[in-house]
Symmetry: C2
Subunit: 462 residues, 2 copies
């Protein structure tokens, strides 16, 4: 079978059929054709018994690569089924940062078994890595890297890579350190290949090395990959001694997590889990959604108060009530457009605090344009559709004018509130993403109602 | 000066001072210490005269790297100031995909000058790359790659890399092709370094190569990097002949653009530009924001109609009006939490169409939990705050009950509508991101009002 012509589901079916017929060597051949990431994705469909059996059919290296990609529960059940020898074989093939990631997910008994089955040097490194705070650069780095000395020649470097490179996640960036492990330069295998064997590293290494500290935020580190197109980034301790590197694949994971987190925060979801959607329990999902819903619901007390204060006017001209939802939604949408654009620009470092007046001036002009165009369409729409077509009672030219004027004023306010709050949030060291649609909407609702009722009083004399 | 101790602003000031004193060689030394990306970021602060002068102070390679990172306007003004020789020097150092990106931004006269100053082979490659559709994998690939034959030895491979590698953006992944350029395998410099000089490539190359077609969407290609941790991905034509590769730095750019686009779409912004926030004009921003605002405003006609239909009931018990904003916002927020979570899970491939019932069942339970907890808090809050503390007239236990019941029912509806619409959108080949907060809010508003008024009629007999 030519594996590329089949979907994952067809392959799973095929494997299950072969399993029933006990044709294990054929299953083995199929797995040879599939990328470990894709094998891991199929594991959800297999029974516990199949999982351990199939795992034993994989060559050592592919087995380890598949293991890393499995979810925590499956990893746990496999480790429970492993003999000590099997566990040791898998651990031997894993990169150190992956081992640490797995340990962080496992219950204590399994962690003890893992640590028991690693050599003392690896165990020491694991323990060091486990100590870095959850969101720090240290927590996503690996300590396995190629380090050179500045008086090494290109030949020395290649010898060292050939001798020690097999266990390293990346060998393409090489780090030059002095006797006390201070980072003094960087070079790449590409540079090495383009120089003569007898050339000295110090003569062509790059010395203006960009690095992060172990305690820096992992998002800071990941953003450097986006900015500078790195394949790996060195991590140093407080004394600027090289302790590890972050590789681009982990940086991509952090960027994607960061984006998910921003998207969730922008929509009133508190971050609780990095697990995929279907793996997060109902109660856990509830916990991540209820805090903001509760807070925003209670803050609705303000809109109720405003409406109650203008109750007499509303009962005098009940048609005004009919346009409250439209006015609120349009204000909310206008505000969240501005806030979301600014939040994204802040997180991509396109704007800073010092740009606040440029931002406000721009949003003011956009607000005037949007307000005027929406208000003119709305003015005509109310006359044609609501008054003439639907025959809504109580609509007069003046009522229409009040609604349309409210639109202009509230949209300008919405744009300005929407663009300034995230910048202030960043200034005050809050996450700007929280200053998004739901929060802005709540403020704009109250503002819009106030504008609406004030204009009604002034123009309609009610 | 130790450059790392200064902020970019301080460096710019320092450089401007040196420029006034005409100390150009000192400026040159400062630039030597700075990464080209950071030099480019400072360019906004320089005058036109300074820009071209400073550019001439940079070593050839750094000059090209800086040039790539500049924005289109600055690139254009530099090219206009370049002599033909200077332009040729910069173009010589650029990678092909970067040249193509620059050409796509430039006016025709400059494109002609660029093409005039490249050799005929490069010109042919540029023209081929320019033909790929804007969002295709072909449009972000480069044709400069290391290709090997299967009977090459490791020694042959290294010779080839040393001879041709200097101009290649990446040399770490090497592609094995047959006589008609069909892709038959892949290997890496790491593998090459870990094998003996006389080993043949075909004996250890990876043959299950994952690739994309030139016409595939660039987002598809970028997502493969996230999934499989690639450094480079081969791109083939319809006949599966290797025509180029995509490198991980370009994949990261696409992922980030894609995230920005999703965030914007989720908030009713139509995509118009990939430029940074402050570079987008007011009119262009207006164009990207007005379509959805207009559509959603006009669809507010439905909420007006519903309120008008229940006008008599509202005027009989005007206090009901006071809670409309809170009910609408809570419904909208609940719905957008569900839709945003599902949209993100879809774009990370965590869920598919076949999971729809699992998703609905989960959101139903989350909806019930959220609905009940919000409603109970709301019931108590209305009694304590609105009735007792604020003395709002017209609040009875039954009114409170209607409002709280509406919350439960609307939140359950909101969660289900919120989670299903994005999945259907994907099924119908629309972008699920459009089925987000503003759109869902508009639907939930109408639903919430209907639920509210029906419950009012039934329970309050008005």
């Amino acid at each position: 079978m030519n594996i590329e012509d089949y979907t994952n589901e067809e392959i799973v079916e095929n494997i299950s059929a072969l399993y029933r017929d006990r044709k294990f060597s054929e299953i083995k051949n199929i797995f040879k054709e599939i990328n470990p990431t894709d094998i891991a994705a199929m594991y959800d469909e297999f029974t516990d018994e199949q999982r351990i059996l199939f795992f034993r059919l994989l060559p050592k290296e592919e087995a380890a690569e598949t293991f890393v990609e499995l979810d925590g529960d499956t990893q746990e059940s496999l480790i429970l089924a492993f003999s000590d020898t099997e566990l040791r074989e898998v651990l031997d093939e894993l990169y150190l940062d992956d081992t640490v990631d797995i340990i962080e997910e496992m219950p204590a008994t399994i962690v003890r078994r893992i640590l028991k089955n690693t050599d003392s040097q690896t165990r020491a490194s694991i323990n060091t890595l486990l100590k870095y705070p959850e969101d720090s650069a240290g927590s996503i780095m690996t300590t396995e890297l190629v380090d050179l000395k500045k008086d090494n020649t290109v030949e020395d470097a290649f010898k060292r890579i050939r001798r020690t490179g097999v266990d390293k996640e990346t060998i393409y960036t090489c780090y030059v350190t002095d006797k006390s492990r201070h980072l003094i330069g960087v070079t790449t295998v590409k540079e090495l290949l383009l120089h003569e064997y007898e050339d000295k590293i110090e003569d062509f290494m790059e010395t203006n090395t960009i690095f992060v500290y172990t305690h820096d935020d992992k998002e800071t580190a990941a953003n450097l990959f986006d900015r500078y197109n790195f394949l790996a980034l060195p991590v140093v301790d407080m004394e600027q001694r090289l302790v590890g590197i972050i590789t681009v694949d982990d940086a991509i994971d952090v960027l994607q997590e960061e984006n998910t987190e921003d998207i969730h925060k922008m929509n009133a979801i508190v971050r609780t889990s990095e697990k995929p959607y279907l793996k997060i329990g109902v109660f856990e999902t509830w916990k991540s959604r209820i805090p903001w819903l509760m807070l925003l619901m209670v803050s609705g007390t303000f809109t109720s108060m405003i409406i109650n204060a203008f109750e007499d006017k509303l009962s005098a001209l009940i048609v005004l009530t009919a346009f409250i939802p439209m006015l609120m939604d349009t204000g909310g949408n206008s505000g969240s457009q501005a806030s979301v654009t600014v939040i994204r620009a802040l997180s991509l470092n396109e704007i800073e605090m010092k740009d606040i007046f440029k931002v406000i001036f721009k949003e003011l002009r956009v607000g005037i344009l949007c307000g005027l165009s929406l208000a003119s369409v709305n003015f005509v729409k109310i006359l044609l559709i609501d008054k003439m077509l639907l025959g809504t009672e109580g609509i007069t030219l003046l009522v229409d004018l009040v609604i349309s004027l409210t639109l202009v004023v509230e949209i300008i306010f919405a744009k300005i509130v929407g663009c300034t709050l995230p910048i202030f949030a960043k200034k005050l060291k809050f996450d700007p993403a929280v200053m998004s649609s739901p929060f802005i909407t709540t403020i704009i609702d109250a503002l819009s109602l106030l504008i609406y009722f004030q204009l009604s009083s002034a123009i309609l004399h009610i």
